[in-house]
Amino acid sequence: MTDLASSSVAPPRPTLSDRMKFYGIWILTGLVLLVLPKVFSSGGSMTTFSLVGISIIFALSYNILLGQTGMLSFGHAVYYGLGGFLAIHAINIVGFHKWPIPLPLMPLIGGVAGLFFAALIGWVMTQRSGTAFAMISLGLAELVASSALILRSFFGGEAGISANRTKLFKVFGLSFGPQIQIYYLIAAWTLIAIIAMYALTRTPLGRMCNAVRDNPERVQFVGYDPHVVRYIAFCFSGFFAGIAGALAAINFEIANSAYLGAVQSGTVLFAAYIGGIGFFIGPIVGAIFVTVLSLGLSDLTQVWQLYFGLFFIAVVLFAPGGITGLLMMHRPLVRAGMLSRMLPSYAMAALPTLALCVGLMLMIETIVHYTVNPNEDPHIQAFGIPFDAASPITWVTAAVLIVGGFLLARRAWSRVGETWDTTLTAARAKVHAL
């Protein structure tokens, strides 16, 4: 076969401009990370950004399992937590002995810890897949979380282990006391981890992970041992989870049993799925979303858990591919330059949907007022909007918004569906014609 023929058959190599675009994205991301604190400079937003960075790494590491290799884990926090604990101990030991190891290297220790435990536990676990794997991970997570309270000298019992990150060997005169320095530390590690994990998807191993996810049986007949593939993926996932855990430990200067718990494991599953496990950036989007939501929602309303639950139900029902899936659906339209055709019908649908949501919130908050705080002033605030829970006008408005919004929204969305079908067909045709 001549080179010419094969290169016409194989997918085209990225052109120079493609490659520029590709590297441009990373550089742009780096720049954004760099200037972010200049735009939002309050201590609170620094903390938020730091947490978002950590959960991005964590969610991406989780997606190595779920999205890429098809392993549903209920115990990913184990590696996150152990990474965190090891990092805290390392900070304490290094600080105590005054060894010349600076703080920015500590996440590596967490990573290695995560890797070590994943490698240790993973071999038997990854022999199974599917529900059996999920249940083993669940049981194991329970075991580890419980022993965290029993093995007190290592896990520090309920209070956990704390450390002082400023007591380490200093590089470039950075003390790592102020949150801004921690932010940059986390941002740098996040960028590195994202790039590393992205690169991982583009390796032979990354591809075989996908193959194992799709059809582990057939994988055996192209020379691979699916168990080994799962195992290596599991180790990588543990490694990056450990890095995330260590960063969290550095950020909070404490590691405790909450790091290992079911809540942590559940949150990362949420984040990855909500963002969209089918896409590399899905978990990133999900991590941002879930972190910001869980930080912010409790300020807005007392019953944030209810909204949280309803929101997840809604995403699972209406956006099975996650938020990213929803966005990616529009790619063919964007390519054909036909996105604008959809916008009017979206606007039409958004209005009643919004009304429905507002109505629901009004109803929920009013009910909450009457059942939870019946003795208090009925002039309450939810999501920053003040209203009078005692006034019949409020009730009528809520009822009208819910019923009217629901009826109109249902109509409008089926309209959207029709427009979608025709636009998509047209877009496909146009792209094909090119």
């Binding site: 076969m1 194989a10 390796t203 057939r218 192209v222 041992d225």
Partner: protein, 249 residues
């Protein structure tokens, strides 16, 4: 001529039922050998035994003289024996290109590499492209395998099987469900792709069997009742009775 595969006294039982009863079979290197027999005779089971999907109850299976009974499928595959499946068995969510590439990776020595960019492996790229052309799916390169038509999936199934460059190839009913024209094309394809390699094929379509095979073995109730050249088999009364029936006679 050296032997590629040799089965010696192979038996396989599931519980009390003995599905394969004392099979002895030798397939020479470079030979195209067809395995035919009524449904349920144990042809697919024989494939499963040779490819490591199942472990024989007794007996030994030699691949180029090496004992492979009891090895795992991937170990056998790494010894350059590859098989296809009677029921299409591809990576449904991955594109045709990715399907083939996965099949090429181990053989080109990239194994579990996580430090190489998969798009920068020229050998892999070329081999994949080659196979893609061979199975005439160039135009479907970026379509997820699950969305291919049945015949295309069968072609892909063959493509994955041969992509690793194995020199012993087992095909289980590769043309099942294809139309006559497609079957013809598939036969040409198989003939070309297995040039110089050892082929063991299971088929119910007699035109394929007689058109392709150098030798034929007939398996009935887990036993080989006849083995020989196409002409010998065609003339064999026992075979006619047990398998071909009056129609093909």
């Amino acid at each position: 001529m050296s032997t590629a595969i040799e089965l010696r006294g192979v038996e396989k039982s599931f519980g009390v039922t003995k599905v394969i009863q004392n099979i002895n079979l030798t397939i020479a290197q470079g030979e195209r050998h067809a395995l035919i027999g009524p449904n349920g005779a144990g042809k697919s089971t024989t494939f499963n035994l040779i490819s490591g999907y199942m472990r024989p109850t007794t007996g030994s299976i030699l691949l180029r003289g090496e004992e492979i009974a009891g090895m795992k499928p991937f170990q056998i595959n790494r010894r350059r024996l590859s098989r296809s499946f009677q029921v299409t068995n591809v990576f449904a969510n991955m594109t045709v290109w990715e399907n083939l590439r996965c099949a090429v990776l181990w053989a080109t020595g990239h194994r579990y590499a996580f430090w190489k960019n998969i798009d920068n492996l020229p050998v892999v790229r070329e081999r994949t492209a080659q196979i893609l052309e061979d199975i005439h799916l160039t135009s479907r390169r970026d379509v997820p395998a699950g969305l291919l038509t049945y015949a295309e999936q069968r072609a892909l199934e063959i493509g994955i099987t041969i992509a690793g460059g194995a020199d012993v190839i087992l095909l289980d009913e590769p043309t099942a469900g294809m139309s006559n024209a497609e079957t013809e094309r598939a036969v040409t394809l198989i003939r070309r792709l297995t040039e110089g390699r050892t082929l063991l094929i299971v088929e119910h379509d007699m035109s394929v069997v007689f058109g392709l095979a150098d030798r034929i073995s007939v398996l009935v109730y887990g036993q080989i009742i006849a083995s020989g050249t196409p002409d010998e088999i065609r003339g064999n009364l026992k075979v006619k009775e047990a398998y071909l029936g009056e129609e093909a006679a």
